[in-house]
Symmetry: C2
Subunit: 123 residues, 2 copies
């Protein structure tokens, strides 16, 4: 067996730096493929392939416009990633400042809607 497919989920799709670059560019607005090619300096087939992966995970949407294909970011598919890392946010905050950062974080997270409890300990 090889690695988990890049099209398996957003985690794998986003693991590729170029794909993150594409999303970063698309964050500035929808764009045709050629625009991405020029902006990223990558080969056109490569961009198309990466876009295919991003599309299969739902990270981007396409719209046909004449002979062009306009790609648009669909950040909603990043939510699983966000939800997952969010639970660790406390981990690196605690590591440095402990209580201070935690309190500051709680202040800012008034509406974030955390539903996950803490792990605590075992044994």
């Amino acid at each position: 067996m090889a690695r988990v497919a890049t099209t398996a989920d957003a985690f794998n799709a986003v693991a590729e730096p170029r794909r993150r670059q594409i999303l970063d560019v698309l964050a500035g607005g929808e764009r045709p493929v050629n625009d991405l090619v020029r902006r990223l300096g990558l080969a056109q087939p490569l961009v198309s392939k990466h876009l295919r992966v991003l599309r299969e995970v739902g990270l981007v949407d396409v719209r046909d416009e004449g002979r062009q294909r306009i790609y648009r970011l669909n950040g909603r598919s990043l939510k699983p990633i966000h939800d997952w890392v969010k639970n660790y946010e406390r981990a690196w905050a605690e590591r440095f400042d402990r209580l201070d950062v935690v309190l500051e974080e709680l202040k800012g997270a008034e509406h974030t809607g955390k539903e996950q409890g803490d792990g605590g300990d075992d044994e």
Copy 2:
């Protein structure tokens, strides 16, 4: 070239579901390898290999304790991921459902996940 190495960064390390599982367990407290093996129901060598990857990216720390090896989560290495997805958070938040607002916000946002410059100038 094959895919980007799993040890390249946290993005790739975390793309593997088992590795995420391991981190999830470690989020509940530091644990020896055998504990992870039992908890996840994976083969011991497999767990060791995944731990190696996680270690090389800095996602976990190890501490020797007798003939056991206690692994501990180091969530700080997840910060780059968090910082990156954070910029897309508004994309799925209903309050900022309007696309133009989303794009406007993302445009001015600072991206931490950039590793390659671009040569294009357009727009």
